[in-house]
Amino acid sequence: MRVFVPISVGGWARLFSRWDVLAVLLILGLLAFLGTASRHLFQPLAELQRTPPSLDPVNLPEYAARTTLRMLVAMALSLLFTFTYATLAAKSRRAERLLIPLLDILQSVPILGFISVTVVFFMALAPGKVLGAEFAAIFAIFTSQAWNMAFSFYQSLRTVPTELIEASRNFRLTPWMSFWRVDVPFAMPQLIWNMMMSMSGSWFFVVASEAISVGNTTVTLPGVGSYIALAIQQQNLHAVGWAIGTMLVVILIYDQVLFRPLVAWADRFRFEQEPGLIAPRSWVLDILRRSRIVDRMTRPFAALWHYTMIPHRPNTDVAVKHEPQTRRGWIAFQSGLIVSALAALALWQSASFILEGIKLADVGTTLLLGLATLARVVVLIALASVIWVPVGVWVGTRPYAALVVQPIAQFLAAFPANVLFPIAVSLIVAWKLDPNIWLSPLMILGTQWYILFNVIAGASALPAELRAAGANFRVRGWLWWRRIALPAVLPYYVTGAITASGGSWNASIVAEVASWGSEHLEAKGLGAYIAQQTDAGNFHHIVLGIAVMSLYVVIVNRVFWRPLYLYAERKFRLG
């Protein structure tokens, strides 16, 4: 800990160090950004219609600011959700039984489905105001961010080392204190990694959520997403280019101003205690840390925060919670009862909702369409694997190549592939190709990179000793791949492929129906079905489509990915 010297002691020359100047600039920039971006929140909806979004690139900075703000608000909500939901699940065995399966299902529900179903509800929350539409958009972005963050946090909380928990109890930390000083720090590195993934993933849905159109309800919120939607509508290739450029800049700023400082800051929460690893650095964090003005401004908040940690009741007797063993069965029975009751209620609700406007034949149709989409996902993942696994291994075993390619792959994963759809559509139309086949690659355009960068990570984690042993025994060619490279990357590959497969299902809703101006292309599949029903505003059919898609995702995960993952973990995990 540092000893603070009052600023006045330092004299004039040191009153404003260059760190201070930079820090003040950063903070003013942040304030200006917040002001611009949130100005329109309380305007009536009609205002939006009077000033429709325009394709003038001059507007892009403002649009980008508003989009960014939505993503950040969604991120804040996701964190809030993570800290409460995951904590409850990890701390209470009773809650866990319900919350974790529920989270698993939520993860499988196509995110674009959430938008279609919830937009009306949110619009009703703030009738006639822009705020309602903003809620809907933010909620959609939230659903694309929150689940994996909550999962990661839950898993971290479950794996806090027993000795640390015992130490914090032995020194009688209050629950609030041990949450912030033990649980959260322990989970932090993993959580930040997931936040980055979430932020990347949510770009895809930003484009879909800003131009919301469900049946008769059409709202266009100013933002990069709606700008792209408009550009596609007007077949303005220049504007698409501008939008892509803007996104590149915004993603770069996220990286420099938000995530890099976070990663550098969270480095000290790494649990592995080996010294000597190169610590990540961030210039933004350096500025904030070295500036005395920032230090002074944050000190009252730090003190307040510290105050909440002090036990205010005399902290004498923290009794051990004793769950008598005879009651364990009873608790299981009780929670089983509650879960069954909730499940029955949910089943009855959705069944009656769906059945109201749906014939049995519709169910059959969606199941068949689901098979078509499933076939696409399977073929595409296989193709992507055949291409990217060798590439990933090649790159991963060459440290310098990995250093260059890894960030690019992560960036490509963040890049919303739907921006590129117009190009694909115009090509398909120009060459008169079959959309059933040629629209499919769009599904995996954005998600294939998860396979690539996970395989790279796996290949670079292969110990030099093992590689040397392979070289020493002159293991080469196919034998090298079969016995060394592929087993070593399998656990990583499976992780990447699971993400890619889930993402592809999600993307099918946008990818199976693509348009460029007046050209509309459609592939037969469940994604196209949901997209059409959304356009038509058939809520019963939307819900049916979403339910069937979730069902497919859950089944594929349970029947295929999970066993494969467990097998790879058990057999091939090094160390």
Binding site: N170, R268, F269
Partner: protein, 430 residues
Amino acid sequence: MSTALLDIHGLRHTFPKADGGDLLVLDGIELEVAQGQIVGLLGRTGSGKSTLLRLIAGLAQPSDGSVTYLGQPVNGPAPGIAMVFQGFALFPWLTVLENVQLGLEALGLPEPEIRKRALAAIDLIGLDGYESAYPRELSGGMRQRVGFARALVVHPNILLMDEPFSALDVLTAETLRTDFLELWGDGKLPIKGVILVTHNIEEAVLMCDRILLFSNNPGRIIREIAVDLRQPRNRLDPQFRDLVEKIYVAMTARTPSAAQAGTERQITINTALPRVSANLFSGLIETLAAAPYNGKADLPVLADELHLEGDELFPVAEAMQMFHFAEVEGGDIKLTDAGKQFAELGTDDRKRLFQRQLLTYIPLAAHIRRILQERANHVAPRSRFLDELEDHMSTDDAEHTLRAVTAWGRFGEAFAYDDDSGMFSLENPT
């Protein structure tokens, strides 16, 4: 009238088993700790001594009996009882100073006092200059010093130590022990009593005023030994050696001995087996057969010679005894005829002899072999045997036991096991 610091009466503790039953880990524990004492809890891994320490710390509640601290029942982490952990349990995201301050912050003390006491503790324990270091920057010895400073800073009456030196190398551990004893002897530590859990016999004799010997499964106190030697103690002092020898004798007296026919503890299908590799077996038999031992050795001497701690040597000795390769009695280990024969054979013959002993004396191995022979296709799933074992022991013990017998079966080529399919079989890959 002086009340005891700590009073444990009629303590009994069970863990839930997989099948819903209870596994008894501690039974009939009576213990009183007076002021100014260092009490050692000495026993093998799995004797429940660490569990007892956690019950004293209030981290768990005993199934039966009472723990009383200064006349008050302990039913949660009590102020005045602080713990030093085997794996240090430092928070890697807090600096040395912050780690030490944590316990004081939880007490809600004012900031200046927290700082003053933390710095004093750091000073006392020899950590000056490391205040702003993170644990990962420190060596193991320095980390454990932080563990000590953190425990002492809250001015506990009782200091609980859970094998605090076992994760350190020999030299570092010795330095830390000496430093601790010096501070304790000079009355510089703000503590009134110490309870030390250890499996290291010499460490116990070196540090403790009283040593309580624990038996295994369930943990019971089998013997109490007072150590009257004056500090600082010398490991080479004959009296010191006598005490160590005495403890070895006491601890091996409990293990079943083939010589005591009739009173022998019966090994059954459901006996927990120690995980000892066949290599260690062979190595120890060879060492024992050769000079200077010529078939018989004093356990403490052997442990010293092989740089094994008692805790590492006992399981091997026990396993050798189960196989009737050796007899252990009165702190001595003696090769049987089978053991001497084993030492002289070549690899293939050794395997044959090992198989014979395994199938004759280890009922679980014979059981697996019999099931495999009875079945038409000569295969059986591992889970079948694991389930059987779990009815009689904890999940961990069952897992260990099955692994031990699998490794022995493989070495003796009594049966084969395929981890991918989880199947035992009679066929070895040809």
